[in-house]
């Protein structure tokens, strides 16, 4: 099977990664944050040319952010999830623009919604949330209700109007 071949190949080159087959056409690769750039370069060279998305998972109970790079290979038709974790306070990571140029938009998005600084990213500006004035909204400790009351006001049925 092509997935098992891929896993064997990756583990042969990098002995420190954890790779496993999730199911047909899904491969998961876990790697520490220092080693991710070289693994990424290698994966790109064996056909994972398409970065479909970068997702970020907030896990406050473990004190980490999990970054997942979703890669797609056109030759092998395999979806590979390249996972790494970074600490939650003062989160910082390196940019992957030199490997996949379209990481530009995804990293800007993650910076906006989770507050992770990507070193080497040329343009970390607000994208959707203009003039945002709170902690990044997709973090688990962001208080929606309190923010909404402060920003948009609450409905008061007696006065039939919004109060601030």
């Amino acid at each position: 099977m092509i997935e098992e071949e891929l896993v064997r190949k990756i583990v042969e080159v990098f002995s420190y990664v954890e790779a496993k087959v999730k199911r047909v056409r899904r491969v998961e690769v876990k790697v520490s944050r220092e080693k991710l750039p070289e693994v990424a370069k290698y994966l790109r060279s064996i056909g994972f040319k398409h970065l479909s998305a970068i997702s970020c998972v907030d896990r406050p109970q473990h004190g980490i952010f999990e970054l997942v790079y979703h890669l797609w290979s056109y030759e092998n038709r395999v979806h590979l999830m390249l996972k790494t974790t970074i600490p939650r306070n003062k989160p910082k990571y390196v940019t992957m623009i030199n490997v996949w140029p379209n990481a530009f938009v995804y990293e800007r998005d993650i910076w906006e919604f989770f507050g992770i600084e990507f070193e080497g990213h040329p343009d970390l500006r607000h994208f959707i949330l203009d003039y945002w004035d709170d902690i990044p909204p997709l973090r688990k400790d962001f208080n929606h209700l309190e923010y909404i009351k402060r920003k948009y006001g609450v409905y008061d049925p007696e006065k039939e109007y919004y109060l601030r």
Binding site: I128, L129, D130, Y131, P137, F142, H144, L145, Y147, I148, K151, Y152, G153, Y155, Y162, R164
Partner: protein
């Protein structure tokens, strides 16, 4: 004085009601209901309504769904660029009270605090029939001289301005102009 004469002129109101031009500007989910409303099946052109790319020549602004603060800035700029008299129709429950986005951090909860709305359509999402009904109602209101949202905006400008400033910060207009400077030629 000028606009008082205009406002009470029955002939002008009659003419205005039969040539409402729409700004081509869609927000939220409602944009998908406009093509059927505009094309052969429901065909709003039989009421003299067409959509125009030019803001300065348009009379009607459709808010077709939820409004984020970033879009609201564009809506306010577009609305202020339109010439009087001008009308707004808000589609769906999102502009009324944010509908299913009531707890979203990035959706404006009550549109009427920021710009004056003439006709509301309830529903999520209103069907083309409902939109046509709102258009006909607006036409009737214009003809009777009752669609006075634009006048409300002029008279209560302080109130609207205060709410807008509270949401975006005091000098948001200046900051928006800085962003658009690249596209402004004169």
């Amino acid at each position: 004085m000028g606009f008082q004469v205009l406002e009470t002129s029955k002939l002008l109101n009659y003419a205005r009601a039969r040539s409402l031009w729409i700004v081509t500007f869609c927000t939220g989910c409602g944009g998908v209901e406009l093509p059927p409303t505009a094309t052969a099946r429901f065909d709003f052109e039989r009421f003299g309504i067409i959509s125009t790319p030019s803001i300065r020549q348009a009379d009607l602004l459709l808010i077709t769904g939820y409004v984020t603060p970033k879009t609201l800035k564009r809506i306010i700029i577009v609305y202020e660029m339109m010439r009087n008299p001008k009308y707004i129709i808000a589609h769906g429950s999102c502009p009324i009270n944010a509908g299913i986005y009531w707890d979203s951090y990035n959706t404006v909860k009550k549109l009427d605090l920021y710009i004056p709305v003439d006709v509301w359509i309830a529903g999520c999402m209103p069907r083309p029939e409902a939109i046509l009904r709102a258009l006909v109602k607006l036409m009737r209101m214009v003809k009777e001289g009752k669609a006075l949202g634009w006048k409300r905006y002029l008279e209560n400008f302080e109130f609207y301005r205060k709410n807008q400033d509270r949401l975006f910060g005091k000098d948001w207009r200046k900051r928006e102009i800085e962003k658009l400077r690249f596209y402004i030629h004169d």
